[in-house]
Structures are given as C-alpha cells and as structure tokens.
C-alpha cells in the first residue's frame, strides 16, 4: 500500500510481490538546507510506504522536493528529522561508511546522465557494484550479467565503452548495473530526461518489466506525466509535501 494520505494514483494490479510487504518506509521525514533567512525546507514531514515489488513514480515540479526525498530514501543524504527504514534498517543510525556499504548491498541507481564510467566497458560498468563490494565475479554473477543484458537488449554491446553506445543503450546498461546486486530498492532519477520519446518508452518499459518479471521494487523520480504513467503508483510532491 502506498502510505500517503492523499494518494491520487489509480490502483493498478500488482504482480510479483507479496501484498502488504513494505520495501521502504519514511516517517515524518524533514530536510532543511541552510539556516536563518536563507533556510530552505525541502521536505516538510513526509510519511510514505513503498510496497515491495511495486513501480512507484514520484512526480512534481522542479523544486518540489522530489529529488531530496529520493536521496533521503536511498541513503545518499541524511534527513534533518524523522526516520527512513529500508529493508528493516534505520538509515539514520548509520554512519557514512555503513551507509555506503548499505547502498552497495541494498540500493541500485539509474541517473539522468553521467551514468556510466567512461573508462570502463559496458560489461565492466555492470559488474562494478560487485567489484566495489570486493565480490569475486563468479559463474553465477556472469550468468546474471548475461541474463540482464539479454532482458535489456545490450548483450552484444558489453565490450563497448559508453562513448560508443547510444543514449538509450547507455541507460539500459545503467539499469543492468543497478539490478546486478538484486537490490531491495532501485531508484531512477529522471531516467528519460536526456532521451527521445521512443527511447524513453523503451527504457520505461524495461523498468516496468524489472518490477513485474524480476519482482524488483522500483522508485522513479520524474516530472514527465507520460513517464509516470508507466508506474503502478504515483506520488505527487508539492512544496516539500505529498500533495
């Protein structure tokens, strides 16, 4: 269930996940930047439950706090108040290193741009999170890379460097990389911001299939209504609150 008090999203049929399970939970979440006259309240008390296996879109105009919300949910940024619980862990209790390791193991990211490291090949980019965690790239991992590459249609591009890939291909490689660790949460921050409409549709379709076919919890931040339409639920932000 989406825990928002004002949930405008239509209820769509849910698939892979067991009903009622929650992947991430925010309670009375606040975030302020600066102090005194220049103080900015980016988040003003957010309560939110993200259902496991669901595809949730966070929508809102520029400056509404949607990116800040994502950063706090993903453990990229520390909240000023309230709690965030992901996969049963209270993120507020973790220091920077613990948070980093938590991200490495439980969260995946797809960004608008600068998604891939230019000096690594697509294949190397995909296994990067495993390498950072010091895991050996065994047969099982290679098998998973192949599976993801097949699903995302980049199997024949693995030896190429990002500069040799199209924007859509780069974004699909980024999705594969986000999925390689089987994270509890996959965050996508304006994943179609730099893409044309056809390629956008492809990428969004892949995100939705990840949720449906792989049972992956996906959270997408976007300001495009068309993109949000692919999601199971839509949370709309306005002035640091859920509208």
């Amino acid at each position: 269930m989406t825990g928002s008090r004002h949930d405008p999203a239509p209820r769509l049929p849910r698939t892979a996940a067991s009903p009622g399970a929650v992947a991430a939970r925010a309670r009375n979440l606040t975030k302020t930047y600066g102090r005194g006259a220049t103080q900015v309240h980016a988040l003003r008390g957010i309560d939110l439950d993200l259902p496991r296996g669901g595809f949730t879109a966070i929508m809102g105009p520029s400056g509404s706090g949607k990116s800040t919300l994502m950063h706090c949910l993903a453990g990229l940024d520390q909240a000023s108040g309230g709690t965030v619980t992901v996969a049963g862990t209270d993120l507020g209790s973790l220091d920077d290193d613990a948070l980093t390791i938590f991200r490495r193991e439980h969260v995946g990211f797809v960004f608008q741009s600068f998604n891939l490291l230019p000096m690594l090949t697509a294949g190397e980019n995909i296994v990067l999170p495993l390498e950072l965690g010091g895991r050996r790239i065994d047969d099982a991992a290679r098998e998973r890379v192949r599976l993801l590459a097949d699903i995302l249609g980049v199997a024949d591009r693995l030896a190429h460097r990002p500069a040799e890939l199209s924007g859509g291909q780069q974004q699909r490689v980024a999705i594969a990389r986000a999925l390689i660790t089987q994270p509890d949460l996959l965050f996508a921050d304006e994943p179609t911001g730099n893409l044309d409409s056809t390629t956008s549709a492809e990428v969004l379709d892949h995100l939705r299939r990840s949720a449906r076919e792989l049972g992956q919890t996906v959270v997408m931040v976007t300001h495009e209504r068309d993109a949000a339409a692919y999601a199971d639920h839509v949370v709309t932000m306005q002035d640091g609150r859920i509208a």
Partner: protein
C-alpha cells in the same frame, strides 16, 4: 569580452595556483643563480682590488697572462720607488716547522709594513714588522696546524731562513694570496724563487721594466676579473642548465593545467561562439588569461628569487668565509631574463591547449553533453624514428668517444620516449595496476583514460628522475673506477716505516688499538743500502699485503730478482730508473736487483721472499701497513700514528688524505647535482598534485556516482592515492631504466676512454631509495586532492553541472 575575461579569471584563479607555483619556482631559480653570480663577482672584485686600493698605477706584464715580468727588473723598479711602490707576488719554497715538513707548495708573499700598502686583514696576533717575523694565512694555519709563536724554517740549504709566526691574517685577494707573508727585505732572501706579477705605485711611474705596462687600478682589476670571471660564468652556465630543466618541467606542468581547464570549459567557449563571439575573441581572451598567470607568477618568482639569493649570500658569508661573496647588486639583466623566461614559458605552454579552443565549433554547446572524449590517436611513427636515430647516434658516440654525439643521441632517445608517452604510459599504468584489486584497477583505468594528460604528467617527473638516476649511476661508476685507479696509486692507507730500528710487538699492538685502524700488518725485512739512494732503506717482503692493500696486494707481489721502490717517497732523490740494475747491500751480503717503481707505501723497497732470504736470515719487523676503517678522519689518524712513530724514529706515509679529498669532491658534485635536480622534481610533483586536483574537480560527478554505487570514502581516497602512486611509480621506473641506460652510454663514451678498466657500477641502494621516495611523494601529492574529493557528498556531486 572583457567581462568574460575578468569573470573567468575570478572563477578559475584558484585552479591556476599550482601552475603559477611551478613558474614561480623556476623563475626564482633563475634569479637566485643571477644574484649568486653577481655576489661572487663583486666579492672577486673587492678581493682582486684590495692590494691596489691606494695605488694610482698598477704595473703588470704587457702580454699577461702568457708572459711574466723579470723579477730582478721588478725588484729594481720597486726599490727605486721606495715607499711609493709595493710589489705583489710570491715564492714557492719548501718549509718545515721544526722537524715537521709542511706542504710542498708553501707559498711566501710580501706583507707591507705601512698601512697604505697592507691589504691582509689581521685575524690574531700582530703584523710582522721586521725580518725574522711572519704572518700565516688563517686557512694555511688551520691546514698545517700552525699557531702564533711557532718557528718555521723556510727554504733549504743556503737559502734556509728561520722566521717566527707573529700573527694570523686573512687574505681577501685570491691572486695575491700566499700561505705566509714576510716583510719585503726578508722576501728578497729568496729572490731566485720569486715571481712578481704586479707592482702598485703611487705618484710618478717613471720608466717601466721591460715588457711591462702601467694601468689604472680599475683597468687592472677589470683585466684580471675577465680572466677569473670565465670560471664564475661557466659555473653560472651550468646552473642555468639546471634552471632550464626546471623551466622545461614547468612547461609540461602548465600545459597540462591549461589543457585540463580548457577541456572542462570547452562548452563555455562553444556557448560564447553561439552567442556571437568570434574565434579570435575567444582565443584572445584565453591567451590573456595565460598572460596574467604568467606575469603574476614570474613577478612572484623574481621577488622570491631576490629574497632567497640575498639570504643565501648571507648564509654563505656566515658559514664559509673563504668563499669571496660581495654585496650583490641587483643583476637587472638576470631579473628581466628570469621574468621574461617565466612569461615565455607560460605562453608557450598555453599555446597548444589554446589551439584546441580555436577548433571548438559553436554546435558543441548545443549537443547534449557529448562528453569531450579525450581519446586521441597518437602516432608511433615519429617517436619510433627518434628512438632509432637516437640509439644509432649513441652507438656511434660510444664508438668514437664523442660527447657531442652522445648528448644528441640521448636527447633524441629521450624525446622519443616522451612522445611515445601517450601510448606507452597508460599501458604501463594498466599493467602496474592490474593485479592490485578493484580500487587500484579503477585508478589505473582513470589514468589510462586520458593518455595525453597522463603522459604529460609523468613526463615532468620522468625528466627529473631520469637525470637524477643518470647522475647517481654515473657518479657511482666514475667513483668505482677512480677508486680502482687510486687503489693502484695508494695501495696502503697509512704506512709506518722504520729505517733505524726494528719495530716492537708492543708498538704493533698500540697501532692496532688506535681508533680508526681497521687492520694493521707487520712487514718484515732488513735495512739495506740500495745503490743510488742516499740513505739505507728497509727492504721488505709482504706476502700478506692483500689483507690491507686497496689494490688487493698486487703492488707487493714482486718477482724474484726485482726490487720495487715507491717513486713518490723519494721524489727527485730516486736516481735509479725503472729497469736499471742496482746493487743492494745488507751487511756483508750483496745482490743485483732490477728496479721497478710504484707509489703509496713509503720509503721501503719491496722484494720477493726468496730475494729477502738471500739478504738476511733473520728478517725483522721494519714497517707496519695499516688499513683505516671506513669514515676514519685521515688527519687525526695520521697525527695519532705520528705520535707513535716519532719516538722510534719511524716515518708515516699517509695515502688516506688523497682518498678523502677525492671523496669530498665527488660528494660535493653529486649532492649539488641532486639538489639542483631536486627543484625540477619538486615542480614535477606539484604537477602531479595539480593534475590530480584538477581531474578531481572534473570528475566530481563520476566520483559522486561511484559513491552512490557503494564506494566508501576510504576507497575513494585510496583510489586517488593509487592513481598518483601509479603515475609516479611508472615515471620513476621508466626514468630509472632510461637513467641507467644513459649512464651506461656516458660510461662507455666518457669514462672508459679516460680510465682503463672502468666498469659500470649501479648503485642499487640509491636507485631503490629514489623509487621509494618518488612513490611516497606521489602519495603525498594525492593527499589534498583526495581529501577534497572525499569531502564532497554524493548528492552534492550529482547535482553539479
């Protein structure tokens, strides 16, 4: 465009800091060299002019320096002028303090009794005022262990005369300097040994001695100065060579700074072009930025150099007053030259990067983050050609012992390596980083992703390291070869020889207990009269000489029927020539032996054991040969052993002093070269820190993403540190290989023809230390950039644009 130019300066000024520091250091180097040269010159000028400061005329040889004045004529000329003239010159005579022989090159000069002509400065005691008194130069007194009150016999035979030391003086004028000074009438005792170079005259000059000319003191000093000057100037040229190296390294550092900054700002430039700036306007604005950096950095460098130069002169004056350093005037040409060099270096270094700015198309601004791909095709043809030509030249140079060809070949090879850097260095970095885990591998990939930048960064360090290693290896080779040579000339460190009495076991024990003695062996023989030598000498045999000799005892292995005599110990008294057959008589036994010579074991003849057996049935200990321990003070050890030798009438031959002075010279050369190269290396390290710092800014988003993906702060810091260490290691290892190679070429070209049997000697320990230091310095260079990178939170990094 002015607004853009000013805004750019404001925004990017901090990023130019490292480049500016590199220029500042190089310019300061040039200026310091200039000030030291000027100080040395004015010091020389003061010193040269000191004896003539009250003169109106200076009489000196017409064709100086190739002709001399006739001493008799000069003496007559000086006598004729009486109080109004003072001759300057000296006599070289043997001298003794009691029974102790002083240096063979003891020089005696005149000291005036009147204040007008006296140029020496009193250090202690008083000035000599009459015959029988002498003043000793303070440094000569130090070296010969003389003090006020000592009696010295100057000259030998009929010309010998005793003087008492009444004072110690400093001699500020190197050309007029002597070890000791006596009054003019006393000096005339040795008129046959006297060389007089000039006469200072007051009033009318009158008729000159034959072949002489009269100059004003200023003109005379200027004439002498140009002569000495050449040496000061050649030293400055050498120092400037190192300054040139530092400037070259700065070019690399600055060029890198500009190309990184411009790559990052390429979109800005494209945007400017979009909104209507012409190509010329953009380029001019960028070049003006470079000019501002160049002017400010060169100005700072000049000021720092002036301060440092004057400080150094003060330090030299305080620590080494024997070196004449005068108050330096500001050497304006040097200051302007240093400033111009700094500005030129900055402009040249920014030239190539700005050319890329010209090529940027306005469309680049409109493309969505096309990402300036740094991959550039680098041809291998040119570097390969340079390498081949260089190696060929080196080969010819070694064959013909041609230093010029060697330098050309070395330069060509080095240029080839530098140019192939963009291909070579990234590969080496990858290879070095591959086995070291994911963090280091990421670092290696980072470095390999910008081949040109990485190559330039390493090139700056490569220059410094290659030269350092070449100097270290070259010096080690030179030194080893010289050691062998000196080992042959001075096989025994200290030999104690007793022609009068056999030595006792007690004495041997006491010698062995003397600090600084590593090993001492008794040498057995008999005193014999060798035909052609004035006094009887010990004839000895030393089968065990190898235990103490520096040449492994080769000199002591004499064939039966021969006698080997120390040529240096007898000097001119040695009338038998090598190959002559002489009669050697010990008691009532006599034998004919063939003479061979060598040096370095004192007044004794060395023969084979069989030969000695025919001269005596009971050989007695007649000499002790001593090997000093490493680091023993030659003068002190010599004095200690002298005390033991004196009471038994034995003499000491001290070969260790030669070792010491050679050692000191080589060390001075090595350390000055290393110190000067150190400046280039420091600039190179600033360059590494700079490149790393700028790419940290450039890659902020990459780092943020990596942090988001799960790279911890520590891992990020380690990654950047690994990148710096990989860069400096690759540069150092490559530099070591090149440096050793160049040293080998130099050894074959220069050392081998000069010293037979020279062999290459690689100082592994020093090389290891250099590699280690470079790696640590690389680590140090990464500290600041890495800290800065790790401070940025992932969110802040991601929102950067």
């Amino acid at each position: 465009m002015r607004a853009v130019f000013l805004a750019s300066l404001r925004t990017y000024s901090r990023r130019y800091v490292a480049a500016a520091v590199a220029v500042t250091v190089a310019v300061a180097f040039v200026v310091v060299v200039g000030i030291l040269t000027s100080g040395a010159r004015s010091g020389l000028m003061d010193g040269l002019g000191a004896p003539y400061r009250n003169a109106e005329h200076v009489v000196s040889p017409e064709g100086w320096p190739s002709s001399e004045l006739d001493p008799a004529a000069v003496i007559a000329f000086t006598e004729r002028h009486g109080e109004n003239a003072s001759a300057i010159g000296r006599a070289t005579l043997p001298a003794h303090a009691g029974s102790r022989k002083l240096s063979d090159t003891t020089t005696v000069g005149p000291i005036a009794t009147s204040q007008v002509w006296r140029w020496q400065e009193l250090s202690s005691g008083r000035f000599p005022s009459r015959t029988g008194e002498a003043a000793v130069d303070v440094y000569a007194a130090l070296a010969e262990d003389l003090a006020v009150g000592d009696r010295i016999t100057i000259g030998v035979g009929a010309a010998a005369s005793d003087v008492q030391v009444v004072g110690l003086v400093e001699s500020p004028s190197p050309p007029a300097q002597a070890s000791m000074y006596v009054t003019w009438p006393q000096l005339l005792l040795w008129r046959d040994h006297l060389h007089l170079g000039s006469v200072a005259v007051r009033g009318e000059v009158g008729p000159l001695p034959e072949g002489a000319k009269a100059l004003s003191p200023e003109a005379f000093t200027a004439e002498r100065l140009t002569h000495v000057q050449n040496r000061v100037d050649s030293l400055s040229v050498m120092l400037l060579l190192f300054a040139g190296i530092a400037l070259f390294v700065s070019i690399l550092v600055i060029a890198n700074t500009f190309s990184i900054l411009f790559a990052r700002r390429l979109r800005d430039f494209a945007l400017l072009r979009c909104v209507g700036a012409t190509r010329r306007q953009v380029v001019r604005s960028v070049r003006r930025e470079a000019a501002v950096v160049g002017v400010l950095a060169s100005l700072t460098g000049t000021l720092v150099g002036v301060g440092l130069g004057h400080g150094l002169i003060a330090v030299i004056d305080a620590l080494a007053s024997a070196v004449p350093m005068g108050a330096a005037e500001l050497p304006v040409p040097w200051l302007l030259g240093g400033f111009a060099a700094g500005l030129a270096v900055t402009m040249v270094a920014s030239w190539l990067p700005t050319r890329r700015v010209i090529r940027v198309s306005p469309l680049a601004a409109l493309r969505p983050d096309a990402g300036v791909d740094a991959r550039t095709r680098t041809g291998l043809a040119r570097p390969a050609l340079l390498l081949v030509i260089g190696l060929a030249l080196l080969g010819v140079a070694m064959d013909r012992s041609s230093t010029a060809l060697m330098l050309a070949g070395g330069g060509s090879v080095f240029a080839g390596v530098l140019l192939s850097g963009p291909v070579l260095v990234p590969r080496l970095v990858r290879i070095a980083g591959a086995p070291l885990g994911p963090t280091v591998r990421l670092a290696a990939e980072n470095a390999a992703h910008h081949p040109r930048r990485t190559a330039t960064t390493t090139a700056s360090l490569l220059v410094g390291v290659t030269l350092t290693i070449a100097v270290l290896t070259g010096m080690a080779t030179w030194r080893t070869s010289l050691n062998e040579q000196i080992g042959r000339d001075h096989p025994i460190d200290i030999a104690l020889t007793s022609p009068t009495r056999p030595l006792t076991t007690d004495l041997l024990t006491r010698i062995r207990r003397t600090p600084g003695v590593e090993r001492a062996i008794p040498v057995y023989g008999a005193v014999a009269q060798v035909a052609g030598l004035h006094d009887p000498i010990p004839v000895v045999t030393a089968p065990a000489a190898g235990q103490v000799a520096r040449d492994g005892g080769v000199f002591a292995r004499v064939e039966p029927g021969k006698i080997r005599i120390d040529a240096d110990a007898f000097g001119k008294d040695l009338t038998p020539r090598p190959g002559d057959r002489v009669t050697v008589r010990a008691g009532d036994r006599r034998i004919q032996l063939q003479v061979a010579v060598g040096t370095g074991w004192g007044p004794a003849g060395v023969v084979a054991p069989e030969t000695l057996a025919t001269l005596t049935d009971a050989p007695e200990p007649r000499a002790v040969w001593i090997r000093a321990s490493t680091g023993a003070d030659p003068a002190r050890l010599g004095a200690d052993l002298d005390e033991l030798a004196d009471p038994v009438g034995a003499t000491i031959e001290n070969g260790l002093r030669t070792w010491e002075s050679l050692d000191q010279q080589l060390q001075i050369y090595t350390w000055s070269a290393l110190g000067l190269l150190g400046i280039a290396i420091v600039i190179a390290l600033i360059g590494i820190a700079n490149t790393l710092g700028l790419s940290v800014l450039e890659r902020a988003r990459e780092h943020a993403m990596l942090r988001a993906l799960g790279l911890t702060r520590g891992q990020l810091r380690r990654m950047l540190a690994a990148e710096a260490v990989l860069l400096s290691l690759v540069a150092t290892v490559l530099g070591t290989v090149l440096g050793v190679g160049f040293a080998w070429a130099a050894c074959e070209t220069i050392v081998k023809p000069a010293l037979r049997d020279a062999t290459m000697h690689i100082p592994w320990l020093s090389l290891g230390v250099v590699v280690l230091i470079a790696a640590l310095a690389g680590l140090l260079a990464a500290v600041l950039p890495a800290r800065r990178a790790a401070r940025v939170s992932p969110v802040a990094g991601l929102s950067l644009d």
